[in-house]
Every structure is written in structure tokens, then in C-alpha cells.
């Protein structure tokens, strides 16, 4: 199953969905088409925002790093954030906000514990540049590097319940390695969270 299908499994049809850092709105559009959700995206990149508007996707120009206090408690069924947590100034505070605004949160992030990134640091002595994390250390928007184990420790600390998780690997997923040893073989971690 692809990541979109995995995410849509956790979202009720016709519910209210907020996508933080929605990019060009592709995922949101798929979820709206599949599940008839009322979807809103938050985004700051002008080109992405325009692409959302052209698609007829609701997009709000708002910087996640400036807070989400304008959105009321429990005003969404699901707050979704894909591949964005690692680029936020204070990921832990945004995580709290997601579960204040939404009944549930769905998060995906690149697993920095993947064997390729580990190998790069171990054998090359250089910060890894992979297909999924394709930036140099100085220009990367990904300012926090963490593994799925780090993430789960944070959830425990902040009393966040993990009610679902799926790991998606690269080619190793065909061998099932990402399920046996996810911190080493999963490239992307998908979590379903509640307070």
C-alpha cells in the first residue's frame, strides 16, 4: 500500500481535515476526492499556494512556526502533517497544537535511523545526502534529525497516545525488513496519534 492509501485508512469520510504544510495540495485533493472530507491546507510557499487554489483546494497562508492559536480546540477531526515535522522550529509544540485542534493527528516523517543515513555518517564521516533527504547540511529545511525511536520517546514525554503506526521502506519493504527492524529499514514512519 502506498502512503496515501495508508493515511486515508485512518480518516473518516466527510470529516474535517487540516493538512499542515500541504504543499501543492495533491494529497489533500486525493483525500477530498476519495473521502469527501472538508479539507483545508496550511502553506507558506507562494507557488504551492497558487497550485492549491488552481485545484480548488482550500489553502490558508499561515506559517506553522508562528503558532496555530487562531484555530479552536477540537475544531478538526484530523490534523495531518506529512514530511514537515523535521523542518519546524519547535516540533514538540506543533505536535501539542495538532492534538489540541484535532481529535487525532496523523504524522509522517523521514526516519533518520535508516541504514543508508547511518552508513553515510559511519563510513563517510559526512552528514548523509540521500534521495529522500537530498539537501546539504547548510541548506536543508530539515533542521531536526530524529529516528522513529526518538519520536516515540517524545510522545511518551508529552503523554501522546500512539494508536497506529506504519513503516514504509524503500526496496527493503519487499523483503519485509522494514517491519522486522523498522528503525534500520523504514524510510518513512507514519503515526496516528491521540491525546
Amino acid at each position: 500500500m502506498n502512503i496515501t492509501a495508508l493515511i486515508s485508512n485512518w480518516i473518516e469520510s466527510k470529516s474535517r481535515l487540516l493538512d499542515l504544510g500541504c504543499g501543492d495540495g495533491s494529497l489533500l485533493k486525493t483525500l477530498i476526492d476519495q473521502l469527501q472530507v472538508r479539507g483545508y491546507g496550511l502553506e507558506i510557499d507562494p507557488v504551492s499556494i497558487n497550485n492549491c487554489i488552481r485545484k480548488g483546494i482550500n489553502v490558508i497562508e499561515q506559517d506553522l512556526n508562528s503558532g496555530l492559536t487562531n484555530l479552536n480546540d477540537g475544531s478538526f477531526d484530523t490534523v495531518l502533517m506529512t514530511q514537515t515535522l523535521q523542518s519546524l522550529r519547535y516540533p514538540h509544540l506543533v505536535l501539542d497544537e495538532m492534538l489540541r485542534i484535532g481529535d487525532q493527528a496523523i504524522i509522517t516523517f523521514p526516519n533518520f535511523g535508516h541504514w543508508r543515513t547511518r552508513a553515510s555518517l559511519l563510513f563517510n564521516g559526512r552528514m548523509p545526502v540521500t534521495k529522500q533527504l537530498s539537501y546539504q547540511w547548510y541548506d536543508t529545511p530539515n533542521i531536526h534529525f530524529f529516528t522513529y525511536k526518538d519520536f516515540e520517546t517524545l510522545c511518551v514525554e508529552r503523554q501522546i497516545k500512539i494508536v497506529g503506526r506504519v513503516f514504509v521502506g524503500g526496496y527493503s519493504s519487499t523483503l519485509g525488513m522494514d517491519r522486522v527492524w523498522p528503525n534500520l529499514f523504514a524510510q518513512t514512519a507514519i503515526y496516528r496519534l491521540r491525546k
Binding site: 507562494p46 497558487n50 487554489i53 480548488g56 490558508i60 497562508e61 499561515q62 484555530l71 475544531s75
Partner: protein
């Protein structure tokens, strides 16, 4: 309904740039204040072609000092106030849309207002013109819509006071528009906003030529007061940084190094005086008082227990809300409040906060992101119109 224009021209394939029309409605218009206008005239311009389905029409709502001449060149060769945005292949594309821009009642460019004749007295309305609210403008626009045999606007678009009209359409005539574009507007005016309007009114009313508003009977206009009112208003529509960039401390006349500085005239002084005088030559003082009060009275959520979310609850159109970073008359925060209320009310809404140092005036000026945003939103609107997959 008496048509002073050739009605046939709206039936099929009307195409023109900047066509001026006028219509006098013989049906009474009941105003928010309770008074009734037994008849009223609207002058309006249209651009583009109304399609056979009559569903590609866009209503442009002008602001405080606006008029019907939104686009194209008028008979004097002057471009419209929003010409950069309306026209063939422009963001509001007249190859696709039929664009209608009326001059609203109470204004002074040919539609019924203080400077037109009151048939009951055979004299100018002057200060006796009934007070107006945004709902009155919208209700008069409904007359125009019916006259044009348009059942549903593809979009209602406006900046500032125009944005307030667009919101009022969405709240009060929800089934008569597919989308609303609300630019640099607010759910209601702040104390500071009202204060600026009050200073402007006081400037007009203290002009000795004002004659309690009956100046037309004296064959005179309170130009000094009106110019001063406009100078104050105009300043509030600009930002400190835009003024600094454009004028700085440039001197037009005189020499700052000279001992005698009484002769010094700064460029900003010259510019502002010119703007004031130009405005005083073209605008009616009673209209200015009337429309600034209309702004002050506007409060979208007033009859909904101050709950904007409830006000929007019956709206069914798609919204685009736009603000400008340096606008301090109707700041981005005002637009955020509108947006947040629409999200809470479960309505389709997108919000753009455009970087600009042009202040409130930015909504009239060229700006790439603003153009792209409008274009994208209307692209989605016309897709919807053509039954394409949303």
C-alpha cells in the same frame, strides 16, 4: 422597469470593452433606515460577453471613492481604477467572464445620490439623501442583476468597502453567487478607522462653503474641506515605507540648505495637495460623508449576536480572502478573522497574505502574487462553471 438602454444588447453575444449603460428602476427600494427610494438610477459599465447560459458574470463592487469605470478607457481616454486586473487575458479575464461594475447609489458618478435631483422637490438631494448601509448597495445590485437576467454571479469581487459588499452578498444572498473575493476588508471598522473617518467628515463640515450640505443650492462646493478629508484618508491608505521610498525628504521647491526655509516645499507635500485638490474636483462632499458613515455602520455579525461564524453559516460560495502585509487600515489580522470564521463555519475558503509595502492602496496596484492568486481562483471558478472535475 424602464430601460434607458437597449435591452436587446444583453441577450446574446454582447461584446465590448468599457461599455457604459444606465438603467432606472421604477420598483421601490426599501433602505435599511426604513426610508424608501421610489425609483433609482444606476450607471454601470460592462466588459466581456455574457454567455448564453448567463452564468459567467462577475460583479465588481467599488470602494469609498470608486465608480463604474473599473476597466478599459473611458471617453476621456482614462483607464479604469482596476484596469490592471480586468480585461482580456488579465486576472479577471474578459475573454471568459462578463464583468459588471455599477456606480452605487449615494455615490456621485451618475447613479442616484446626493448630487442628483430628488423628483419630489425638483432640487438636488444634497444632505437630505437617506443614510445608507452596505445592504442597500447590495440590494440595489440585486435589481441590476435581475435587470441583466443573471440568476447567479460567477463571482462577486471587491476590495475594502467592496469586500464588505462581497461578504454581504455571501451572507444575505447565498444562492446568488458561486464565489466571493474579499480583498483588504474587515468584518467591521475599528475605533481608529472610525476616528479617521470622523476627522475627514469634520474637515468637510467645517468648510464655510459646506452650508450644512446644501452647497449645490448655492452653486458652490466645499473644495477645501473635501481636499483635506481626502489628504487624511489618502495618507492612511499608504504605508510609511512606501512614502519614504517614493518621496523621502525630496524637495520640490526651495533649498533646505538655505537660511530661508519658508519657501521649501517637500515632494510629499506637493503630491498630497495635488491628490486632495484633484479629488475635490471630482467627488461630492455629501457622498463622502454618506459613504464614510456607511463604512462606520458596517458590522457583518451584528445581527448574529456578534458571531461571524453564525453570519457565514448559510453561505454556500467559495471564498478567497486577500490581505496586504503593510495595510494598516484593514490589516492582515482583519482578513485572518474573516478567514478563521469561515473555516470554523466549515466553508470553502483560501487566504492569501500578499507581501507589499503599498499599504491599503495595494489592492488597486500591480502585484505579481496578487494577480496570480486572483487568476488561479477564477481559473478554479470557471472550471467549476464548465462542469470540470473539481
Amino acid at each position: 422597469m424602464q430601460n434607458e438602454m437597449n435591452e436587446k444588447s444583453f441577450n446574446d453575444g454582447l461584446h465590448a470593452d468599457a461599455l457604459t449603460h444606465e438603467v432606472t428602476f421604477e420598483d421601490p427600494l426599501t433602505l435599511a433606515c426604513g426610508l424608501i427610494l421610489p425609483t433609482h438610477k444606476l450607471v454601470f459599465e460592462t466588459y466581456g460577453t455574457l454567455n448564453k447560459g448567463r452564468n459567467n458574470a462577475i460583479l465588481i463592487c467599488h470602494a469609498l471613492s470608486g465608480n463604474q469605470h473599473a476597466a478599459g478607457l473611458n471617453t476621456e481616454g482614462r483607464p479604469g481604477w482596476w484596469d490592471h486586473y480586468i480585461g482580456p487575458d488579465k486576472p479577471i479575464d474578459t475573454n471568459k467572464f462578463f464583468v459588471v461594475c455599477p456606480n452605487n447609489i449615494g455615490s456621485c458618478f451618475g447613479s442616484t445620490g446626493p448630487n442628483t435631483i430628488n423628483e419630489d422637490t425638483d432640487k438636488s438631494w444634497g444632505p437630505d439623501f437617506p443614510p445608507l448601509e452596505v445592504s442597500d448597495w447590495v440590494n440595489s445590485q440585486v435589481f441590476l442583476m435581475e435587470y441583466l437576467k443573471i440568476k447567479c454571479w460567477s463571482a462577486v469581487i471587491g476590495g475594502s468597502l467592496g469586500g464588505m459588499q462581497a461578504m454581504h452578498w455571501a451572507v444575505s444572498h447565498s444562492n446568488r453567487l458561486k464565489s466571493a473575493v474579499v480583498i483588504a476588508a474587515s468584518l467591521k471598522l475599528s475605533a481608529q478607522n472610525i476616528a479617521f473617518n470622523e476627522v475627514a467628515r469634520r474637515a468637510i463640515m467645517s468648510d464655510p462653503d459646506f452650508h450644512d450640505g446644501a452647497y449645490l443650492d448655492q452653486d458652490i462646493t466645499p473644495k477645501q474641506g473635501l481636499a483635506l478629508a481626502r489628504m487624511i484618508g489618502h495618507l492612511t491608505y499608504l504605508s510609511d515605507s512606501a512614502l519614504g521610498r517614493k518621496f523621502g525628504r525630496l524637495v520640490r521647491n526651495g533649498d533646505l540648505d538655505a537660511a530661508e526655509k519658508a519657501l521649501v516645499e517637500f515632494e510629499i507635500s506637493s503630491y498630497l495637495n495635488y491628490q486632495g485638490d484633484k479629488f475635490a474636483d471630482n467627488f461630492d462632499a455629501n457622498s463622502y460623508i454618506l459613504i464614510t458613515k456607511m463604512l462606520d455602520y458596517f458590522d457583518l455579525a451584528q445581527s448574529f449576536n456578534d458571531e461571524a461564524v453564525d453570519a457565514f453559516s448559510k453561505s454556500s460560495c467559495n471564498f478567497l480572502i486577500v490581505s496586504f502585509s503593510s495595510d494598516w487600515r484593514f490589516s492582515p489580522q482583519c482578513s485572518k478573522e474573516i478567514t478563521d470564521a469561515l473555516i470554523e463555519a466549515n466553508k470553502n475558503v483560501s487566504y492569501l497574505q500578499i507581501d507589499s509595502d503599498q499599504g491599503h492602496d495595494a489592492f488597486l496596484l500591480p502585484n505579481r502574487r496578487y494577480e496570480d492568486g486572483l487568476r488561479a481562483f477564477l481559473f478554479a471558478t470557471s472550471n467549476h462553471l464548465n462542469g470540470a472535475v473539481k
